[in-house]
Symmetry: C2
Subunit: 266 residues, 2 copies
């Protein structure tokens, strides 16, 4: 009988907690990230029903060989109560997606949805400092992105969401991070901005729409789309045709995996 | 970034629960067994402290994508309370080492420590039916082996353990399974027996001792040793030199993995 070489009694355990769980991509991606750092660690799908969350997750945390958890839909808000120490983004957003065992005891929680976007920009050689930004979408992803960008010192941020209450909520959070940022609610437009970010679902999968009405971008504009599938959304296709630098959802995802792997101490 | 191919959101989860956990071999061996049957399933080490057992393990069982658990030291007795349906060996032994989700709901538990020995014999072309057996060692492994053999219709069983109370306890269990078996307590000897089994720790690792004082075996004797390391204990070396058929601890272990994989429905 053969043995496999990727799990043993010494393997450190991580999990992604969600409901449903079958669609998550974290197990194969984080396990590869751990492996690329030569760590004997694996990330498993932990399917937890919402009704069982408060019983199951604190129990998982009692296993001494479990070092971290990722939270996805619908648990990001609820999971915050499990952290002894809460990171600066999570504090503002009111949710975590990563919980890591601290070497000195206890658990720390942070949300990396937005930090992945910032990391994707950094790896592409772009920063938000002093820039004028338009952000479309103020839902879960948009809020996290907006708050993470607010920590990077942009000059101004325009926020749009069809649900204006949601947009105003994010605008308050942005100024909570940095009162010096000029924040306004505005319909999607590119007048006098340096960076355009889409965090709305417009353009996802077979959706051929653009989140903004425009024929061509100024080639100096930097365009970002949080959507992972397709890799090239209609928005990013226009950016490419216009000669703009652009950053894909996939780069945000890789940035997030890298930052979260650091956070897990792997 | 690469992805690994052995875990995804769809992977079914199994675990071995023990304390300590780092020394267990089940993760690499069962995962290989699952893989050999083309199942998208993995078995992980779940380190549970004894003080947390009653809280953590029932919580793990609430995860809909967790299909089975293995129990090792010190949890085999305690785990029996988690099973809705208890197998014939577990009923007599008073312990389980496998707990499997039933397709119709609920969990079934059984102990395979002894069934692996029977399976190892079967795969080597030997049976216990009508045979005269000497069993040395009536601890955890010895009891499970004795009870499993009792289900196979041997003519007689001699049992030895330096702790005679433990031996008498096993003798009662053997006759509970089958009152027709002639069971006696006897010092290790080979007079008029067909099968000699060692389930004591004598001969393990660097221990050069034999569990029985003898210079040479009758070549018709079948000799078994439950010890996995070394593969060839002093007892099995003498069996080989005497021209006897012999069955190794490793064969018992493989037999157990195969039976347990069946039990898990993989």
């Amino acid at each position: 009988m053969h043995e496999v070489d990727y799990v043993s009694g010494k393997t450190r355990i991580y999990g992604i907690v969600g409901h449903p769980i079958e669609q998550v991509r974290s197990p194969e991606m984080f396990t590869a990230s751990f492996k690329s750092r030569k760590a004997d660690a694996i990330l498993l799908p932990f399917h937890v029903l919402p009704v069982d969350f408060d019983r199951v997750v604190p129990s998982l945390m009692l296993m001494p060989n479990l070092d971290g958890l990722i939270f996805t839909i619908p648990f990001k808000q609820q999971a915050m109560a499990l952290a002894d120490v809460i990171g600066p983004n999570a504090k503002i957003v009111g949710a975590i997606n990563a919980l890591a065992r601290q070497s000195g005891g206890g658990w720390k929680g942070e949300i990396f949805d937005g930090l992945g976007c910032v990391e994707g920009f950094r790896k592409s050689g772009h920063s938000f400092a002093g820039k004028r930004v338009m952000l479309i979408g103020a839902g879960g992803a948009g809020s996290a992105i907006g708050v993470a960008i607010a920590h990077e010192g942009p000059a101004s941020m325009r926020v749009f969401d069809p649900d204006s209450g949601r947009a105003e909520d994010l605008m308050r959070k942005i100024n909570q991070v940095d009162p010096a940022i000029a924040v306004v609610y505005e319909e999607p437009n590119c007048d006098g901005i340096d960076i355009l970010l889409n965090a709305s679902p417009v353009g996802m999968l077979d959706d051929a729409r653009m989140p903004i009405s425009i024929e061509r971008f100024d080639p100096k504009l930097i365009v970002f789309d949080a959507i992972v599938k397709p890799e090239m959304t209609p928005l990013l296709q226009l950016a490419a045709q216009s000669g703009c630098a652009f950053i894909q959802g996939r780069q945000m995802m890789y940035g997030q995996i890298s930052k979260m792997t650091d956070y897990f101490g792997v």
